[in-house]
Structures are given as structure tokens and as C-alpha cells.
Amino acid sequence: MAERGLPARKYALHFETMKNFLYSLIVLAAFFVHGSAYAQFKPHAQIRLVPEKTKIAPGDAIFIAIEQTLESGWHSYWKNPGDSGEPMRVQWTMPDGFETGPLKWPTPHKIMIGPLASYGYEDRAVLLQEIIVPWDLPEGPLTLRADIDILVCEEICIPETSHYEVTFNAPGAAEDNAVYIDAAYEFMPATYDLSITFKEENDLLVFFLGPLHYNRVQANTKPGTTFTLITEEWGLIDNPSSLMINATARTDAVVLAQRRGDRPLGSFDRITGLLSYVTPSDTVESISFIALPDPDWDRTVAIAPPMSTSTPSSVDRSASGAWQDTSFIKAILFAVLGGLILNLMPCVFPVLSLKALKLCRMGGKELSHARMHGILYTGGILASFAVFAVALLVLQAAGSGVGWGFHLQNSGFVAFLAYLFLVIGLNLVGYFEVAISIGGRDRAREHGYVATFFSGVLAAVVATPCTAPFMGVAMGYALTQPPAIALSVFLALGFGLALPMLALSFVPALQKIMPKPGAWMDTFRKVLALPMLLAAAWLAWVFMQQSGQNGLIILIAGMVVVCLAIAFLKSGKKTLRLLALVLILTAAYPVVMKSEAPPVPVSTDGWAAYTAVDFASLEAGHDPLFVNMTAAWCITCKINEHAVLAKDSIRTLLDDNNVVLVKGDWTNYNAEITAYLESFGRDGVPLYVYYGSRDDAGKRPDPVILPQILTPSIIERTIK
């Protein structure tokens, strides 16, 4: 083996020499090309070295200024260049015994370049390099050499390399540039003895400046100035985002917050940086700071963010987890089953049973017509689910953290559903009959084909608030798969929803099992109005969770207006009909209005509100945890909460075992909860996860995912 290896090695050596030779040729060629053009070549950054003085004594500590004069429109970079760029680098070659102190950088500007932000200098900047002269300074002239690499950018970037020399103690007149150095020092960040702490919270880096700072800062700044936070380390803050500042003269404290950057806070035990602002004389100044971790903040959070793959509290999507165990066939089966169960949901059942009864009323009239209805109804459902799936996939592809049920996080859609349920309820109870149609008087209309197709669409729409169990896993699986598979899972769900009607229309024997049509049907219809109207009331409650009590009043007013509009429409008078149209447009307000800032989730009834930060600290603790991911619009969640989780015996059991209860409310969009659901391969609520307590070795058993329909015995078994 070794013998065989030898010639190859020889060749490699030979190759190396060749490469070096070629490289020298290229460098040489480049030199000639550049050399000939050198006369016209003017650097974009002109650099000059200015020593504080040229006569130095043993033990002196002096500054050498590195002055950059930048071509108009070009900029160079600060020591943390921001999103792109490189800081200037200086390599000193000095006589023996000389040492360099820190390089001082003047306050940089934040330079926005499209969607990116850099920190640097425009026009002119003077950096100060401290040089410490040795005690045993030799006699005679001494030369210091600086090799400087600087990157200057306009729209494009050009690296420029140059070297400079400074000679000290040369015979002749001495230079004294103390005034120049003093002037340059004015542009350096000021240092105050500030007590600042930092912590990470909800994707923000938050700094607390202790008391007495507000007035000090206020006195130095131009009214209305923008403060800029710049950290010395890269990636701690999202550079282009702006700094949020909360300062009050009353408490004399300042809280700063900026979006976090890409880099994990890791084990940073301090953050150094600058806070820059504009002074009343329109110059940019800054205060440098050193922030220490907030003592009340749990460090484990930053070291192991709860959503990263490395922590035991979450399940790595790529390694294990629900979605990978879910084979395609299984997902399809779950989806069909889930769709079937949707039929029994209080919101779908009335629509479905009416359709079924209508089908039976046709009796054995014409089998082909019945089949046609079955197919069209299925088509309506499948079309709706396809549209929904495509919308969801497109949003996901665009990078939105949306999941199943995402449309219910939109208060406008909830308001629309509330109206829809109200109108269906009113129709069922006999308040009005549907007499207006958009179809012509053709054969299709005669057979009610169009209506059947749209009742399929309607069934799909009304089904959406009632996310049935079994669907969570299937949906979570679907959304991690290529679009074709995802679409098939959604269509399977729709097929499950359509299945009872399809079966009924195709198998006459099944129609015979259905009760005979008669006068009872009218009563039945009225009874069915009840769940529909209750669903409307429930949706109004969901809307209130999203838009507050004022929103609720607007929606209720809208519902009254809709009732009035229907009454007007019934009258048949042209003017009243016109008025009805105006009323309906007015009622659309809650659908289109922007919901106010959603109320902040609060801890209620012994449940701690889920935030990634809080959860990570709870998870780091010893006690068992029960996580309940819910939403106001998720009826399964509400049933579980009221029938099981709120039960006295269960609450006692949880209390006795010191189980910490954590509730995540997904009623409104919440990226952290979406991320948590995703970590379990889910895209919707409910999700119940139990974390057993840590054993003596400090290890926590793997979290247990509970079924989506809870029973007291499931909870009991899980905890024991």
C-alpha cells in the first residue's frame, strides 16, 4: 500500500510546484496589468497615518491615528460590519519592545443597503491605535509599519491593500498632532458606568438600563432622535430592524429591545455594544456599554432554545416524531376516517342530514339522478379541500408559519362563518326560503345539480371549525410532504366527509334504511336549526377572543342587520331589496375590519400561558409538565377542557402530582406555538403533551403525546 502511495505523493508534490509556479505567473501578470494602470488608479479609501507626536520617550503611550477618507458614496466598516462587509484590518510591524494597545473605533453609522444593514463610515473616519513605547527605547530613528486591508463598498465592494510607515525620533523638527488626536477622540463612544442587564424574550434581545439613565441620555439627545443599538459581536440582533425603546421619566429607567439575530446567544456571559443617538448639535454620538445577563433570567433558555433539535423537550422532525411513523397509507386512512367523523360534528350534521333527506325524497325516482347528486356533492367538497390545500401549501412555501385551521385565526373569516351559520339557522327554522338563484332555468337547475355542488362546498366550509381527531396527525404529516402527497391527504379527508352521501346515492338499499319522508321532516329541520344557531353564537364568542368586546358588539349588530336584510328581501319590494343590499354591505364590516391587537394571553385558572422562554425554564425544572395547546375555535379542545381537564377529580390528581399546567392559546396566530406544534409533527390543535418528572439523575423521560380526545382515564393512566 505504502509503495503504491509513493508515486501519487510524488505527483502531488510535482503538482504543488506547478501550481505555485502558475500562481506566481498569474500574480506577475496581474502586477504588470495593474502596474501599467497604476497612474490612474485612485483608491476609494485614502488612508493616512498621523502619529500623536514624532518625538517619543521611553514608557510613552501614544496614539497613531488611521485616517480614512472615503470617496463620496463609498463606505467602510466598523469592527462588527453588520449584515455584510469586513472591518479594516491592521498588521503592525514594530521594533522590539513596542506593543499595541486597543484599536479605538469612532461611533459608526447604520447604513441601510436594500433590506440589509451595515455598520460603518462614510466620508471620513479616524481610528486611533494606541502604541506603548518600551522603557528600554533605543537611540536613533525607529520605523513602525502598518499593513492595512480595507474593504470599501458603494454598490459593489473593493478590497484595498496598502502599507504605511511612521518614523519616530528622526533628526529634524518634531511633529505634534495632539490637537488632531483630541479632535478624533471626540468621535469615540463615551463610556459611562452603566448597570445594564440583558435577556432574551420572545425573539427579542431586551436590555434594562438601571435608574438614573433616562435623564442623562435625555439631556444629551436631540428631541425625536432615533436610537441605534449596535453590538460588537455579530448576529445577536437583527441588524435592519429598529430598536424599540421604552423610557419613562417617572421611573427613570430605560428598556431597549430589538429583534434577535441568527446567532444563538449561547454562553454569552456579557454583551458589549453601543447605543448611538443624534445630539442637539446634529452629530452622532454613542455610549458604549457592557450588559450582563439578567439574574432573574434562566440561562438554559439561551443555551438550548426550546425549539432547536438538540433539546429533549422537542422532537426532531428529521429524526423521529409522529410524522415519520405515519406512512402514506396510514395518513390517507386517518384522513378518510377523520373526514367521516366530521360528518357527525354539530356544524356539519344539519347540512348533511338535510341533503340526505332530500336525496331520499327523490326515492327511487331516478337512480342516475341520485348518483349524479352524490358525485356533484363529492365534487363540491373535493374542490373546496383542494382549494384549501393549495392555499395552505402556497402560504407554507412562501414561508408562512401557518398550520391547519390557520384561516380561523383570521377574525374576518370567523365573522363570515358566524353570519353563514346564522343564515343557515334562520333558513332551517323557516324564517326564509331560498328563492333567489343565479343558475338559469335549464335542466341542471331543474335537477338542483348546481345547488348540490354548492352544498358540498358548504359542507366543507362549515366543517372547518370542527377539526376532528385523527386529523392532526394526518395534516401534520401532509404538510411535511411534497405537494402531491399533501394534496392527496387533503383530498382523502374531503372524500371521507363526502363518503356517507356518496354511499347513500349509489346504494339504493341504504336509502331504504333511511326513515320515510313525511311531515316530521319539517319539525326535524327546525330542530336542526338549533345546533346551527348555537354554532353562530359560539363563533361570535371566538370572534370576541380575537377582536375584543367592542368587536363582539359590532358583530352582534351585524347579525341583527342581516336578519333585517333578510326580512327586507322577503318583502319583494324593489326599494326594500335595495336597502337590504346596503344593509348586507354594512354587515360585512366585521369581516373586513382589522381586529385590534389581540389580547395578551394570560395565565388563568392554574394554567401558565405558553411562551417558548417560560416553557424552557419550566422544562429545565424538576416537576412534571402537562402542555395543552388549544384555540377558542377548536371545539374538540373546548370539549376536552370542560369535560376532562376541568373536572375536579382530574384537577386534584394533577395538583397532587405537582403537575405544572401550561396552556398555549392558538386562537390568534402565534409563531412560538406553531413551532411547538411542528416540533411534534402537528399542524393543528388540540395537542396534549405530558412530560414526566425528572429522575434522581436529572433526566426527564421522553414526552408523551396524548390522544386528541381525552378521557379522565387517559389522564390517570398517563400520570401514574
Binding site: 436594500g114 440589509l116 441568527d262 425549539m307 414561508g399 343558475g439 362546498v457 411534497p482
Partner: protein, 203 residues
């Protein structure tokens, strides 16, 4: 009336809220994208599920990118990676009129000249995919694992300079990360500071 409502319902499905983009974070699923390559073929990230995918933001005129191409460093890495069945997608997010913006034909010419051997070079003149990933510099490297999770984001190596001489002693983060993945280990150095020119997005 009922029909109007029903049609309205259908529209509502489309009018689903468009949430702000979430960006990329190492350890999280990498967001999907589809972009045309220089041969007019649409490349979807999801097409490569099951394979390791390297995303390389590039701008052939940027001195930092040129350092890696003119020295043959990038091509060698592309060759090494693709030989291990890793998919390598080079992405150009320069906006029209900005440095590095190329037509498909120009890009193919550059590929031929430099001998780049990436799986495909994708054109993102609108910068949508660049912004989606938060690509800041050229080069800026991302690695997506077989399960579609982002496992690396940052620089190509630890030598933030445009001087080709610095390549020799540099530790190539992408190479190390790919070796970690090949060994079935998590990527040790998963986030590094990307260096180079800024991505020339539309202003």
C-alpha cells in the same frame, strides 16, 4: 342569496391571511422555494427531500466569490459534495441592474468559464428566496438535511478575506458540516458569521 354566500365562502378560502415571513433558523424546517435554473427548469427545494442540499448565494463579480472560484476552491467543493450525492444549488439574487445580475445565457457562459459543477444555478432576480432565507452576503451558505431541516447557515470558511492566499489555511465550514452529516453526527459548527459582499437586492 345562498349561492352568493357560497361563492363568497370559496373566495374566503383564497383570502386566507398572509402572515409575515418567519425566516430561517438552524434546527427548523427549511422553507420551500421554487426558482428557475439557467436551463429554464423550475427547481423546487422539495424535489430534493431525502437528499442533503447545499445552498450557495453567489455573485460572480463579488471579490469574495471570485476568491473561491478563481482559486478553484468552490468548484472542488462542489465536485466533492455532488460526488457524495449532495445537491448543490447556487443562487443568484442580484436584482436587475445590480452587480452580479445575469441572464440565463450569461450565467451558463460563466458556469462554463469557471468550470462550476453545482447541480444547478438558480436565478432569483426578485430576491424573494434570498430574503426568505435572510441571505446577506455572497457567499452565504446554507445546508438542508435529508429531512428538510436547516442544519447550517453562515460562511463558507473561517477566513473572511478576499485574498486567495487565505484559502489554504482556512477551515471550510461547509466541508466540515458535510463530513459531520455523512458521519451521522449533528453539525458541530452550525451557525457562523457569513462574510463577503452584500447580496445586491433591489433597493
Amino acid at each position: 342569496m345562498k349561492y352568493i354566500l357560497q361563492i363568497f365562502a370559496l373566495i374566503c378560502f383564497f383570502a386566507a391571511p398572509a402572515f409575515a415571513m418567519t425566516g430561517v433558523e438552524v434546527g427548523q424546517p427549511a422553507p420551500g422555494f421554487s426558482l428557475p435554473d439557467t436551463h429554464g427548469v423550475t427547481q423546487n427545494l422539495s424535489d430534493y427531500r431525502g437528499k442533503i442540499v447545499v445552498l450557495e448565494w453567489m455573485n460572480h463579480e463579488c471579490p469574495y466569490v471570485r476568491k473561491h472560484y478563481e482559486s478553484g476552491n468552490m468548484q472542488a467543493l462542489q465536485k466533492e459534495a455532488t460526488a457524495q450525492d449532495v445537491v448543490w444549488l447556487s443562487i443568484v439574487s442580484s436584482a436587475p441592474g445590480e452587480q452580479g445580475h445575469v441572464s440565463a445565457a450569461e450565467a451558463n457562459e460563466i458556469i462554463a468559464q469557471t468550470g462550476a459543477v453545482a447541480t444547478a444555478r438558480l436565478l432569483d432576480p426578485e430576491g424573494a428566496t434570498g430574503r426568505l432565507y435572510g441571505a446577506k452576503t455572497t457567499p452565504h451558505m446554507f445546508i438542508v438535511d435529508q429531512g428538510g431541516v436547516l442544519v447550517y447557515a453562515g460562511a463558507i470558511d473561517d477566513s473572511p478575506s478576499s485574498n486567495p492566499k487565505t484559502i489554504h489555511n482556512a477551515t471550510n465550514y461547509v466541508q466540515v458540516a458535510l463530513a459531520d452529516l455523512a458521519a451521522g453526527k449533528p453539525v458541530a459548527q452550525a451557525v457562523t458569521r457569513p462574510y463577503g459582499c452584500s447580496v445586491k437586492y433591489a433597493r
